[in-house]
Structure formats: C-alpha cells, structure tokens
Symmetry: C2
Amino acid sequence: MSRPTKYQPERGEAKTRLLEAALLLIRSKGYSATSVADLCEEAGVTKGAFFHCFENKEALGVAAANFWAENTGAFFADAPYHQHDDPLERILAYVAFRKAIIDGDISEFTCLVGTMVQEVYAISPAIRDACANSIFGHAHTLEADIADAMKVHKLDSVWTAESLARHTQTVIQGAFVLAKAGNDPSLATESLDHLDRYIRLIFNPSKGS
Amino acid sequence: MSRPTKYQPERGEAKTRLLEAALLLIRSKGYSATSVADLCEEAGVTKGAFFHCFENKEALGVAAANFWAENTGAFFADAPYHQHDDPLERILAYVAFRKAIIDGDISEFTCLVGTMVQEVYAISPAIRDACANSIFGHAHTLEADIADAMKVHKLDSVWTAESLARHTQTVIQGAFVLAKAGNDPSLATESLDHLDRYIRLIFNPSKGS
DNA sequence: ACATACATACCTGTCGATCGGTATGTAAAC
DNA sequence: GTTTACATACCGATCGACAGGTATGTATGT
C-alpha cells in the first residue's frame, strides 16, 4: 500500500509521454534534430521503452502527427466559435479565435504538422501524409460553415468552400513562418487581420472599407 | 597547353559549388538532415574544402540564406512584372508572376529560407536572422508599389503598405506548406488566386464579384 | 504460466570537425 | 628572370561523440 517516494511514470504511460515529448521537442528543434535519446530523456523513459512503443523513429513521427490531429481536433471542436447562429459569423469567429490563441512562446502556438511537413515531405512520405491528413482534416471542419454562408449570402462565386477553407490554412501556416523568421507573434496576427478583411469582402463586397 | 580530359572543378569554385549544393539539398531534405558529407559529394569537393570555405555547418546555413537572397533578389529585379505603368497592375503582375513560376518539382519552386527558418528558428539565431533578412528584404521590394497604388486609388486604410507586403509573403509561404503536405502544386496556386482577389477588392471594393 | 511493458547494455555506422600535408598562385628580393 | 617566401585553396585520413537500432534481462499484471 506504500507509494513510491519519487515520481515514476506509471506502467502504460510511456507511449503518451513520448508523444507529448515529441510535440514539445519537434516543434522547437524540428524532426531531424530531435534524437530518440532526446525524446526518451524528455519523456523520462529509456530507449527500450521507445522501441517497444514505436517500430522506429519514423513511426513516432507518424504517430506524433496523428496525436496532434486528435488533440487539436478536440480542442477546436470544443472552442466557442461554433456558437454563432450566422454561418459567416462562425467563420469570422474562427479566424478571431485563431488570432486570439497566438500568444506567448512561438513554439507553443505554432503548428507541429506544418513545421514537420516542410522538413520531411521529400524524405518520409508516411509522415508527410499524416501531416496532410491533419491539415486538410482541420480545413474540412470549416467547409460546412463556409458552404452555408455562401447560401445565406447568395454567392455564386468562382471559388469553392473547399478552396477558401484551404486558404485559411495557407494564411495560418504562412503566418507561423513569418512569426518564426521575425521572432515576433504580431507578424502572424497581422496576416489574420488581412484574412478577416478578405472574408468579409468576398461575402459582402459593397461593405468594404 | 593540354586540357584535362576529365572535368575537375576549377580552383576557387568550391565555395560556390557548395552553396549551390546547399540550395538543392536543404530544399529537399531540410537543414538538419543534410550532412556535410552530402554537401561535399553533391558539390564534388572534399570535407577539407568544406571547412576551408566555412567555419562550420551553421556558417554554411547562414551563407546559403544570403546566397539565396542574392540570387532571388536578382531574379525578381529582372522579372517583367515591373513594366506596368499603374502601380496596382505591378502588384497584381507580381502575384501572377509568383503563380506562374509554381511549376514542376516541389523542391524546385519552394523557398529555401521559408523551409529552413521553420526548422532552425529556435536552434540557430544566426540562420534565423539570415532567413528573416531574405524574406523581409524581398517583402520590402513590394512596398513602394503598394504605397504608390494606395495614393493613386486614394486609399485611407487601416492597413499599411508594409503590412500588405508582408501578407503577400505569408500567403506565398503558407502556399508552399500546403503544396508540400498535399504533394500538389495547385494547392499553392489556388491560394495565390485568393490573394489576387483580396488585393483587387481592397483597392477597388465596389468591383468585387 | 505467460504476455506485456519496460530497463540495461551494447553494436555499428555516421556525424561534425580537426589536422598535417600538397598543389597552385603571387609578389618581392636579388 | 630566377629564386625565395609566403598565402591561398584544397585534399584525405582520422577523431571522439553520438546517431538509430538491437539483444537480452526483469518486473508486473492476469
């Protein structure tokens, strides 16, 4: 009935701890520069545990991308921007929400899969595809609102809901690149303001300022 | 008077050959996954030559970013989009030019410094700053045209020429991320169409379709 | 008892980096 | 105008550290 005096990871926790370590380390150091030993040290497990949980380093990369997709998927599903009645308001609230969560350390608000896919798209198709699923899966969650807004505003546009949904992700991913380069989060929020303005204009061209 | 029968790199060429190898390899494999040996093999020189030309691998990264800035700077300075009389036409022609050169292998049209900065922003401030100079230096070349267009169209907007110039780079960098993830260049051109539409709308709000 | 979930020890190749040496140029001395 | 002196450009062997990965041992739950 006695508890260990020093914290030891519970049995069964190693995989989750390694995935959480992967999110932390890969987001700041990149995939290639993050070694298996780094991951084990951060997670507080040994190499034996690592290769018990994952076949190899690439498999961890794939699992990390999927883990990211699950976590962010739940995070955005629970976010408050879905509450508006008007679909256009939901879209704009999404952009505002993305802007609001850009705060603090750059490695904490930027995107794991956007970072990782740039690095490994040519050397690991498996990781690339997992990253693609995360990005385009998230984009897909915006499509219904965009399509509804197009109906409400009676738009007969040359662009599609899918295309605009992807474009929002383009701006977000690019915003992270500039924020990293300039070491300044406001470089990211600035572009989200342009995105907000764009969406307002294409849904209501006459009201542009 | 005899010429060597087999091609040997001329004396003095090693540095340039290594920089060209760096552009090729880092754009497809990333910075960390590109080893010094890889670079030497691609350039056709030895490790001795490498560490004669560059103090260490990080110095090559910085030099590669600067080399990229020089090459692309000359490339865009010579490009035909500057020829239009109207400044707004020059801006739109720039976007069209960026769209037109998205073709072929992904590693051949994507951006070295955008890729590299995502990977190393936290582990090498020197490379990060060199990448930032390239990105924001290029953005700066667009500012005069944007400022002129704002005057011609008598805009009194909440956004600045600097901000819109940076936003164009945001969209371009993000477009590369999505193209790499989906392994499809049309994912990049699609967002440039949205950027074109945005620029037309903010300079002439009533004419939006 | 047996499988699962790890830990420990270690192997092999590759990493960035160093170093002594050599070939080539350059410029002043005589 | 040849010799001397030195600098530059590059080669190739080698280093210690560390990479990813494996082989084997051990504790734990069922």
